[in-house]
């Protein structure tokens, strides 16, 4: 089995490099905040999250360095090169920010991001991330189970799917000025997938609030699906009856299905999904069914043909 309980000894055994980086980031964040006080709306840096509790869902695999996690990103809203988001996302204003939770629910609610950050206990979830392009990382996210939020709004009987929408603002998101994808970016989950305890809304990584290029201020993380399912910079969560259209599904329906579960047996039409390169490693490794989370999630897909429902 690949998922282990977070080892207490190991957790205390944190590599000095990370601490060094985090401290340095903290200092940098401090000075950046001082600057952004003078230039409102510009360069909101990350700040430290407090009161984080660890989670049994975390993996004990070696974490991908902070630098790689924050400079090698697919976030087309800020450009299509992996290095674009880190360069172009710095102008994104993440305050004020609201997330509208709406649709087939009894108690719809518009959340202010700062209220949301305090509403639920923040857990550390160290998850594997597998990109559809054939690379992977191990990222320590901070966030809370999406199920917490869903229970609060009380979905009605007709809520069968959940649709997530990313901010649409070409002024702040230069990539949206070109029509690579149909903006805004939308994604979707079946309600039971959204309710699954592994599915989280992430608000931080490596103990800091999310850097803009990683989807600040709040993003979805669904670790058993390809990375693009985990919508970033979310402004709307809507409960619907019909399966929602997804951004990549609209762009290339034969290549990016609604489910997009990590599956080494179902290749992308243009490349193999059997193996992946873990960032920082030389040799490719075998890709695991459901990205190694099969024990937790396989029952969601019982009786389904995963080749058809790719």
């Amino acid at each position: 089995m690949l998922i282990k309980k977070a080892d207490v000894l190991k957790a205390a055994d944190v590599t000095p490099y990370e601490i060094y980086l985090q401290r340095r980031d903290f200092l940098r964040a401090g000075s950046a905040l001082a600057v952004s006080a003078l230039l409102p709306g510009v360069a909101e840096a990350t700040t430290r999250l407090s009161g984080i509790v660890s989670s049994p869902y975390s993996t004990s695999e070696e974490k991908t360095p902070y630098k790689d996690v924050t400079t090698y990103n697919n976030y087309y809203e800020f450009g299509t090169d992996k290095s674009d988001p880190a360069e172009n996302a710095q102008g994104l204003r993440t305050r004020p920010w609201t997330i509208s939770v709406e649709g087939a629910v009894k108690r719809p609610k518009v959340w202010d991001i700062d209220a949301l950050l305090k509403a639920f206990p923040i857990e550390e979830r160290i998850y594997r991330l597998r990109c559809v392009e054939g690379w992977s990382m191990v990222i320590p996210w901070e966030g809370f189970a999406l199920a917490n939020l869903i229970r609060q709004v009380e979905p009605t009987g007709s809520a069968r799917y959940v649709e997530f929408t990313t901010l649409h603002d070409p002024a702040q998101m230069p990539g949206q000025r070109s029509s690579v994808l149909n903006w805004p970016y939308t994604e979707g989950l079946r309600l039971d997938e959204a309710m699954h305890p592994l599915t989280i809304l992430a608000v931080g990584l490596y103990g800091q609030t999310l850097p803009n290029q990683n989807g600040a201020p709040v993003r979805l993380v669904v670790p058993w699906k390809y990375g693009f399912k985990s919508a970033k910079s979310i402004v709307r969560i809507r409960f619907v009856e019909q399966q929602p259209k997804t951004a990549w599904g609209r762009a290339a329906p034969s290549e990016y299905g609604f489910y997009s579960n990590v599956n080494p047996q179902v290749d992308h039409p243009r490349w193999s999904q059997a193996r992946e390169r873990r960032i920082g490693e030389f040799f490719k490794r075998k890709t695991e069914m459901f990205n190694g989370y099969g024990e937790q999630v396989a029952q969601l897909y019982q009786g389904m043909d995963l080749r058809k429902n790719f």
Binding site: K67, Y72, Y76, K82, V180, R270, S272, R277, F282, F283
Partner: protein, 214 residues
């Protein structure tokens, strides 16, 4: 005074060739420099693959630009740089292919064969690479003589197909943003289009001999 660009001396041509040789090695030098200085980013193997692939394509297109440039400018000596450009394209193609076989697949030949057969973008890239080999092998003066001008020229027209396959390879491998392959495709279209225009122009006096002064 002789015009250097129209009619350079033998020595000046040697200088031009030496310069081109160094310029052709600059991308490789940059790659090595980035490698030594931790500049290849989070996914170095992907970076090297893309880097060498890009320079293969640039090499091919530069080679294809010699004839049009020569015809437009009248600088006929440019033809003497063409072989080196072609060989540089082949050189970067070899690095690109080696990166794939060695760093990317780590000599997993079963995987490589499967890739070449199953993935259209690899298939056309592989075809382009295989077709480059006879051109490189017959690039020497001795081989040119052995084949004879006509035969040699016919064989080396393969470069058109290779360049097209190279662009198709690029086009098929990008996930969504086709801006880059589109740019290369347009450049290639211009380079091939110019040739058609030249061909048509040459034919005009043949088709209409009455315009020729007696």
């Amino acid at each position: 005074m002789r015009n250097v660009l129209l009619n350079p001396s033998a020595r000046q041509i040697i200088i031009a060739k030496a310069t081109l040789f160094i310029v052709g090695l600059l991308p490789l030098a940059r790659l090595v420099w980035l490698g030594v200085n931790d500049g290849l980013g989070a996914n170095p193997i992907e970076f090297i693959t893309h880097f060498t692939g890009t320079w293969t394509l640039v090499g091919l297109l530069t080679t294809l630009s010699i004839t049009p440039l020569r015809k437009i400018s009248g600088w006929n000596w440019l033809i003497r740089l063409r072989r080196m450009l072609g060989l540089f394209a082949f050189f970067y193609a070899c690095l690109h292919f080696t990166t794939y076989i060695w760093l990317d697949q780590f000599f997993d030949m079963q995987m490589v064969v499967k890739d070449v057969i199953k993935r259209p973008f690899i298939t056309v890239g592989f075809l382009a690479f295989v077709l480059l080999i006879p051109l490189a092998l017959t690039s020497t003066n001795a081989m040119m003589k052995r084949l004879g001008g006509k035969k040699w020229q016919r064989l080396h027209r393969l470069i058109y197909a290779i360049a097209v396959l190279g662009v198709v390879h690029y086009w098929w491998l990008v996930k969504k943003d086709i801006t880059q392959p589109l740019i290369y495709a347009l450049v290639l279209a211009v380079l091939l289009g110019i040739r058609l225009v030249f061909k048509a122009q040459i034919r005009i006096p043949v088709v209409m001999p009455k315009h020729n002064p007696e």
